[in-house]
């Protein structure tokens, strides 16, 4: 073994260990902080879906014939069939096998998404280390881990960080398949793409990303061969065929809802998302609820919620790459990152695309933005080395660019959706500007101690934006008293929750009329800004 080979081998091992460390560390952090994060509205629906799928898996084990019959499949898998099955199946199996492994039952539902979130951080490191070295890769991975809204979504039994993770995994597999011959890398891309498709419909954009990558990397040569009458199709990546054949097979195999009436159900699935109803979202003091939506929304929200240092480094990375475009050693990979960023944001180039959901719908761009940030860190470090008489230790530079994101992210917990960067004045500045303060009703957690203390025995709690299934999970976890009864009828309630969004003010007005008071009994604030508050029915105004 030559010394250079040994060194390379050791370096590769070291990167693997670091990636594993990032994975384990991030997972531990997510697990440690999960119990203080309330349950979002959508989690409630996915808990219910996962419980239904879990029952089917149990039946599959005990009576396969019955489980596979059409009636049974439809009965269990019709629940929440507007979203694919992969992640919810993982929630179900995790709850089945790990339900008692955690101190709170909810964690077992959330665990698979946490695993995938940690995988995204680790893989960002691995890919970065492969392309530009260890320290920039570490900056990239930790920049991703400590985007406040990524950290928030990484906890949830939802699809948004998992689909970002699977975009990254599929891209990585695709990039490797372009370098390595053989069946295994090809099948790997197809499998990854299948899981990606079976996670969330962001996956529909991925073929356009690889298409754009092909055009940039091979477009000119392909056209030249086409004009010359040469076999241009040999330039087409074989991975495309794998994605085309294996991907849909994986979706079909893992999503029992599609086993019957496949085409009509696929059409229904596509129609649900391409013709999705518009929800209300406040942006710069105005509630948007129908097109045209502001085209700047996605970009400005990214500016206001991703740490500026990360964005600046990403810009520096893009510029440094552009300057060395022709001979950049990782050109193919970086072009794929750029294509992934562009395609992740592409739907919001149209003013007809709904803008609800804050930043979660383009989280798929963030791993690649952070890889660009790693590239930027490398470029800036190099420039500093050349400019300064005494070199700045790279660990110190990395610490400087990561301190802000880490501290801001940990500070934002558990108000991740209310977190804004200093560029817009933090949470107070965002509230003054009229940016969405919260959604999904998860901040009930912050009022739980008050509700537990104030609500009468067997009292009724008006849940407002918290889904009933989410409220039930608060109780199952013993975060809320089990004797409490959730209700959607304010008039029969003893305690009313209010989760502030501009268009929901009418709910608070109803509380004023019914309870006869305009004074909240408890307010949960983030950096001094009211996020969610609660009213207690005065004794002078009994409910019946």
């Amino acid at each position: 073994v030559k010394p250079a080979q040994l060194r390379a081998w050791l370096l590769e091992r070291a990167d693997g260990c670091l990636a594993l460390g990032l994975f384990a560390g991030y997972l531990a952090l997510l697990l440690a902080s999960a119990s203080s994060l309330g349950f979002t509205r959508d989690e409630g629906f996915y808990f219910s879906a996962a419980r239904a799928y879990e029952q089917w898996f149990v039946l599959l084990g005990s009576s396969p014939g019955e489980a596979l019959s059409r009636d049974t499949v439809d009965r269990f898998w019709s629940v929440n069939h507007e979203h694919p099955s992969f992640i919810k199946s993982l929630f179900a199996l995790s709850h089945r096998w790990l339900g008692s492994a955690f101190s709170q039952p909810s964690t077992s539902f959330r665990f698979p998404a946490m695993l995938l979130s940690s995988l995204a951080v680790a893989l960002t490191y691995r890919w970065g280390a492969r392309c530009f070295g260890r320290w920039p890769a570490l900056v990239a991975a930790l920049s991703l881990a400590f985007v406040p809204q990524v950290f928030f979504h990484a906890h949830l039994a939802c699809f948004d960080v998992p689909v970002a993770s699977l975009w990254l995994v599929t891209s990585y597999a695709y990039a490797r398949s372009l370098e390595r011959q053989g069946l295994l890398p090809l099948v790997g891309v197809g499998l990854a793409f299948g899981l990606f498709l079976d996670t969330k419909h962001n996956a529909w954009l991925f073929p356009f990303a690889v298409g754009l990558h092909f055009v940039v990397m091979q477009g000119r040569a392909t056209v030249a061969e086409l004009i010359a009458g040469k076999p241009w199709w040999r330039r087409l990546p074989p991975a495309w065929l794998s994605m085309l054949l294996v991907g849909p097979l994986v979706v079909y195999a893992l999503w029992p809802w599609l086993w019957h009436d496949t085409l009509p159900r696929l059409r229904e699935y596509v129609r649900f998302h391409t013709q999705h109803e518009y929800y209300n979202i406040e942006f710069l003091g105005h509630t948007y609820w129908r097109p045209p939506f502001p085209r700047a929304y996605a970009w400005l929200m990214t500016l206001g919620t991703v740490p500026l240092v990360t964005l600046l480094l990403a810009c520096a990375g893009a510029i440094s790459f552009a300057r060395r475009f022709a001979d950049h050693p990782a050109k193919s990979d970086v072009v794929l990152w750029g294509a992934s960023v562009l395609l992740s944001y592409a739907p919001w180039w149209s003013s007809a695309t709904p803008i609800f959901g804050g930043t979660k719908h383009w989280l798929t761009a963030y791993p690649f933005l952070c890889l660009f940030a790693g590239l930027g860190f490398q470029a800036v470090s190099r420039a500093l080395r050349e400019a300064l008489p005494r070199p700045v230790p790279v660990a110190l530079s990395a610490g400087c660019v990561l301190a802000g994101p880490v501290i801001m992210t940990l500070h934002a917990h558990p108000f991740g959706l209310s977190a804004y960067t200093p560029l817009v004045g933090g949470a107070p500045g965002a509230a003054t500007l009229g940016l969405n303060r919260t959604f999904w009703g998860y901040t009930t957690q912050s009022l739980a101690p008050f509700v537990n203390q104030q609500a009468p025995r067997a009292g009724r709690v008006y849940v407002h934006d918290t889904a009933l299934a989410s409220f039930a999970m608060f109780q199952e976890d013993s975060r809320l008293r089990r004797d409490l009864r959730p209700t959607l009828d304010l008039a029969v309630s003893d305690v009313a929750l209010y989760h502030h969004e501009q268009h929901m003010s009418r709910v608070e007005h109803q509380i004023w009329i019914d309870y006869g008071t305009v004074s909240p009994a408890a307010i949960a604030t983030f950096d001094g800004v009211p996020i969610t508050w609660s009213y207690v029915r005065p004794r002078s105004k009994p409910r019946e």
Binding site: M408, T421, G425, T432, A491, P520, G528
Partner: protein, 289 residues
Amino acid sequence: LGELGLHAYFANRAPSFEDYSALAPRLLELKPPGVPVLASPAWAEPLLRQAAPEAFPLAELARPDDRGFARYLEVSLGGSWPFGAEPELSRLPVESEHEVGPFRLRLLKNSDVESTRHDFTSALERGEVEVATDVAGELTPCPSVEARRARTGGLHGAVARPRRYHACTGERAVAVTVIEDQNYRPRRCILIEAPSRGSVELVFRGVPPSAKLVGFAGFSYFLDRDAPGAQVELSLAEGGQPLGAQRVEAARGWQRFEVQRPAAGGDVTLRASWLVEQPRELCVALEAR
């Protein structure tokens, strides 16, 4: 690191709960009766309402517009970024100013005031009104009743109907409620639910003299902002003489209108006639100014 410093600055800038509690007695001391309190920035208002509920009577908090009051008491978190002043307040002249902890309290003079002589919404609460449905000239009174509980619809449901209301035929009601305008701000008003047939008539007795009647009308903007065209015609009469009419369009939100009055005060009749079936929950505020 600069970003981190700014983060620390913004994260610790806002007053604490203790600051709001300490402000409350001074706020109540400085607030003259009939002077609405305005929070600047507006997002601080729930914290002020919690600390000093008496400073926020519903009639002031959910006033029909800003011209009905001669003065306002602004409670500001300082006025500088990130606590910018509300734009509509910045043009008002300042009568007096006090610093209380981290807060700045300014008494603002409203030079655009239209003094309110009579508030019809409060008159309904006091029972100074006769409500009836009118089907082809036949009047059916809507007596005042008290239900076992209020009716509330939640985000996508009906406008809140309080326990006490005027019960019209077909389980329709007339009552005082609050709806949201096109900026989702609260407006206290008289809820008039569409009758199955005919129109609804409200007769207010002994309205003191004034130059004009200023009206405001709308539907729950969140619920009905999609409804096209005009839905209701409102007409006003005094002493049997028509004063004017106004068509209400849900998509326009909270609309202001006004009619001139004869010199002597008297009984004012407000009639709401539906032009279409939906939406059904009209809300009207009326003031003699």
